[in-house]
Symmetry: C2
Subunit: 251 residues, 2 copies
DNA sequence: ACCTGAACACCGTTCAAGT
DNA sequence: ACCTGAACACCGTTCAAGT
């Protein structure tokens, strides 16, 4: 990341919307109990939406709230606690409640797609979202939804927890990976992709026959078709597992 | 991350192995051309091995080299350049050259497993390793190896680049995800897992029948069986694709 | 030409002091 | 009780000065 020494040579004005050229910038004190977790979370959301998670610093939070940057510490123990709550709030607003349809496959496909879109929208949060559990209502509702679909597919309890893990990890891992690639500095990304083709084409064709022949046909790392291609394989396997389970039950 | 104010109350001695109580710590200057990319990379590797990537700072690098922390800038443009080269060097030492065997499936399984083990060994680097391409010999050799296996499976060129992308992304994304979870602060991880069971068990059984019933059976996020379970699905799909292609060619 | 010293623009976090 | 000011322990990075 590049740090900026001075936004544009001109130092930023100290009191943006304050006015009052009279006294030497008497900074108004924040009213007594106007700060609470909800207000803070709203401000954090606005920043994340506007500038991405990288912009979410205590300094930016203070500016957004019109409060001192350290004032947040009275309401959140540390940044981790704030980020976890932010993740859950975003999730709740993004997918809301999923209503099961008649087709378990369509249900799993839908929730997988929603999670992917959500990660691609907040790539800076994707890593944390994919590896942490927030243990809030929205998360439990999603798990219930997926387990219900797996049961309808014909899986027993033991299979359901196993395939839920594969389905969930696949969706989170692949979506987080796609988001991470998409989020790379565009210049870097272009260099990675274009440079690959040039370097690959320059290799010894005898030692690298496939790479040299296919150098220009290689798909970009974040090709959007890949997610669905693999997801259908997982759904196929779940369907087959359900078939086997049902057949065994009849015998 | 928790910052330490003072390692143990006692300030670290300024010249550790120097000795010379006489003059006020005359710091020896680093010999003229003793610094180069190779020496720096060795030091970086030693630090990464010992303290993880978090410990790899310019300050630590300077201490390891017995040089000023900014001296590295003469040899690497920035930290990104250093890390990319480190990634490639680690990869070269870790898997070396893969020799194709008689069975393409075994070959793909082997390289996938090696990549996963490598990521789990350097979890702090896994994110960067999974999303960036280094465009060095080792990387091209791996791609050649995988493309060759896909050709032997019976895939045409167009299918080969498509399924290479799925195979590669699956391996990198799932391994990076597993590494990220494994790398979480153990206390956090235990809280996430144990807390989940407690919170889930406390839910309304009518609204969350599956979650409450299976709360204690849920698999940990980084269950080591999941990677192989999904990998075999990908390999199955490749095998089927090869079968179809061969059959079409006969007609 | 290569390395060092001193600074800079940021981070998260702590804690005594104000109101 | 709640917010502010001032500091701290780190980060990566720049650049003029030494040798």
């Amino acid at each position: 990341m590049v740090r900026v020494r001075d936004a544009a040579g001109v130092p930023a004005t100290r009191d943006e919307a304050a006015g009052s050229m009279l006294s030497p910038a008497r900074k108004p004190r924040r009213p007594r109990s106007s700060l609470n977790r909800e207000v803070i979370l709203d401000a954090a959301l606005a920043i994340a939406e506007r500038e991405g998670l990288d912009g979410l610093t205590f300094a930016a939070l203070g500016a957004e709230l019109g409060a001192h940057s350290t004032a947040v510490y009275r309401h959140y123990r540390d940044k981790d606690e704030l980020v976890l709550e932010l993740i859950d709030e975003l999730r709740a607003r993004s997918y809301g409640v999923h209503e099961p349809g008649p087709d378990w496959r369509a249900d799993l496909r839908a929730i997988g797609g929603h999670i992917r879109e959500h990660y691609l929208r907040y790539p800076r949060l994707a890593q944390a979202m994919s590896a942490r559990s927030t243990r809030r209502t929205t998360e439990f509702a999603n798990v219930e939804f997926a387990l219900d679909a797996l049961r309808r597919a014909g899986l027993g309890d033991e299979d359901a927890v196993l395939w839920l893990r594969l389905f969930g990890n696949y969706v989170r891992a692949m979506a987080a990976h796609e988001a991470a690639v998409r989020d790379l500095d565009p210049a870097l990304k272009a260099k990675d992709h274009a440079g690959w083709q040039v370097d690959a084409a320059g290799l010894d064709a005898a030692a690298f026959p496939n790479v040299t022949r296919l150098a220009t046909s290689m798909l970009p790392m974040d090709d959007p078709r890949i997610f669905d291609l693999g997801l259908e394989l997982v759904l196929d396997a779940i369907e087959e597992r359900g078939r086997v389970t049902r057949a065994a039950a009849l015998r």
